[in-house]
């Protein structure tokens, strides 16, 4: 009895495995396909039985509705998401530098608190924010929503920055100190430029989470003048709207940032998921 050699047997099965992989991926992504399919379906075909598997008589009505009704929501989402990115990076990059390189007394406790903070359920934070914002008059305000959304990303961001910046060799920073650069100068001119990848990872996640946020938006700015796209979709569904092509077209548009990021910056995402292992 001989054991078959490992390598050839692996290579033999490779096409079969690729096919199986494609099938599995297709099954997994079917809901995404379905969303796109429905977004192109005509109203009169929407309740057809069985439903059409392909948008044969495709229509752009849904997308026209998005252009007519949802642009302000998309604009708000963009502003809120970008604001969240700026706030998150501004807060967590210096913190990451301090925790990774300066290692102050009590830094460990702070790191621990940040990790624990990620465990707090979003709706609890939302209720707390609601109570606070009500007394401060910050309900229905875009800056208020930006601050609330940043709580989704700041603990994760500090974690990523700390991990990344501890990889910067200490001698390099000492050299800068010897050249007379203060801590701030060292941070600005050496640490930050070297941490570009961490900045990108953190920005991507902060953007995605803020763009996708529904809990804070629904609690803090619902019904206000500036509402994000997640509420746009939610109101569509809530109004017992039967124009599912418009709903799904909005959903497709709302998914575009995720798609763009996946295509252009996938390695940052995969790295962020494993490194932070923070969000489910």
């Amino acid at each position: 009895m001989t054991t078959p050699p490992l390598i050839p047997s692996r290579r033999r099965g490779t096409w079969g495995k690729s096919t199986a992989g494609v099938v599995l991926t297709a099954v997994m992504l079917f809901p995404v396909y379905w969303m796109i399919n429905v977004s192109f379906t005509r109203d009169q075909d929407m309740r057809k039985s069985p439903p059409g598997l392909f948008p044969l008589h495709g229509t752009l009505t849904g997308y026209r509705t998005v252009l007519d009704e949802q642009l302000p929501y998309l604009g708000t989402s963009l502003v809120v998401a970008l604001g969240t990115v700026v706030l998150t990076v501004a807060l967590s990059a210096p913190a990451g530098y301090a925790l990774a390189q300066l290692r102050p007394r009590g830094g460990g406790v702070l790191g621990f608190v940040l990790l624990a903070a990620q465990m707090i359920p979003g709706i609890i934070m939302a209720m707390g924010f609601y109570a606070v914002y009500l007394s401060l008059g910050l309900l229905q305000s875009v800056p208020g929503l930006i601050v609330a959304d940043s709580t989704l990303a700041v603990p994760f961001a500090v974690l990523i920055f700390t991990a990344f910046m501890s990889g910067i060799p200490g001698e390099l920073l000492q050299a800068a100190t010897m050249d007379g650069a203060g801590t701030w100068r060292t941070f600005r001119s050496i640490v930050l430029p070297m941490s570009r990848n961490a900045v990108v990872t953190v920005s991507l996640f902060a953007f995605l989470w803020s763009w996708s946020d529904f809990v804070f938006a629904g609690t803090l700015v619902n019904g206000g003048a500036h509402q994000p796209i997640t509420l746009g979709i939610y109101h569509y569904i809530g109004n017992n709207n039967q124009e599912w092509n418009a709903i799904m077209a909005t959903a497709v548009v709302a998914s575009l940032p995720a798609a763009v990021i996946l295509v252009l910056a996938q390695r940052y995402i995969a790295a962020g998921v494993s490194a932070g292992a923070v969000k489910d």
Binding site: M28, L91, G107, M119, P121, G128, M178, T219, D280
Partner: protein, 332 residues
Amino acid sequence: MRDPQMNHTKQRPDGRSASAGGGAATAAPPPAPARARRRPASRQWAAWAFLAPVTLYLVVFYAYPLYRNVDLSLRHYTVRSFVQGNAPFTGLKNYETVFDDPTFGPALMHTVVFTTVCLFFQYAIGLALAVFFHQNFRLSATLRALFLVPWLLPLIVSASTWSWMLNSDSGIVNSVLHTVGIGPVNWLTSPDWSLTSVIIANIWIGVPFNLVVLYSGLQSIPGSLYEAAALDGAGAWRRFWSVTFPLLRPVSAITLLLGLVYTLKVFDIIWIMTKGGPAGSSTTFATWSYQLGFGNLLPAFGPGAAVGNLLVVAALAFGLVYLRVQRKQALS
């Protein structure tokens, strides 16, 4: 165990700035580093100056809202006293109300079922896919990237897509079931099925996370172990149970514990798909808390906050277990 994963983000600094720094190092006078090390006080100050914004932020935007929530749960709030802020202190009354509420038992039950079933399937499917993709066939990297899509989509997008797919009359799921002779299932409108529906949708969303983390765990298992097992005549199934599964235990523990914390607090999916209904049949602690505080015309802020705090305690308890396990693994 987590270090190999961290390496993805921990990129080496690029050569240019490193050499510039090196040049500066040789030009500088040698005693300087010793002097720098002898000044820990100023360094401490500098460090805390860098940490000040985030510390203040934690106090104002985490600690204070949490404190407000505890305060809410210990007072009798009405809409008027919520605005004026003079609600009478009632101790644990709100918690008693919550425990005596007929929703408490079912909500606890649904939370437990939702969490365990989701965790089990997300982990099992994620692990199976991770092992499958670990074989490194043509296209495997691309397909693995595509698997991230459900995880990256806004939850409202996933939830509304699943709502339409599970629609009783026009949904694709019932249409497919019809062709194999199974009658229409009222996925979202029947109390018997609503919890199952939200569980299915949530499993779909959670699989990519498990896949990515478990896949990076698989990469740290040395290939020589598999070769040795194969030489000993172990088949693929045997190799999985005697090599992969035991060696993946640390990563599995981390994945499951994190999954637990994050599944406990799932709110969006359930709220968007069923609002916890019909008749409370998919109500978990998360949706119940929100329902009490915001879902009714007459908000019950106190009991809502009480339910929320129970959830915080549960999430933090499991979170601490997670941190302990993680620390222990980092040390070993």
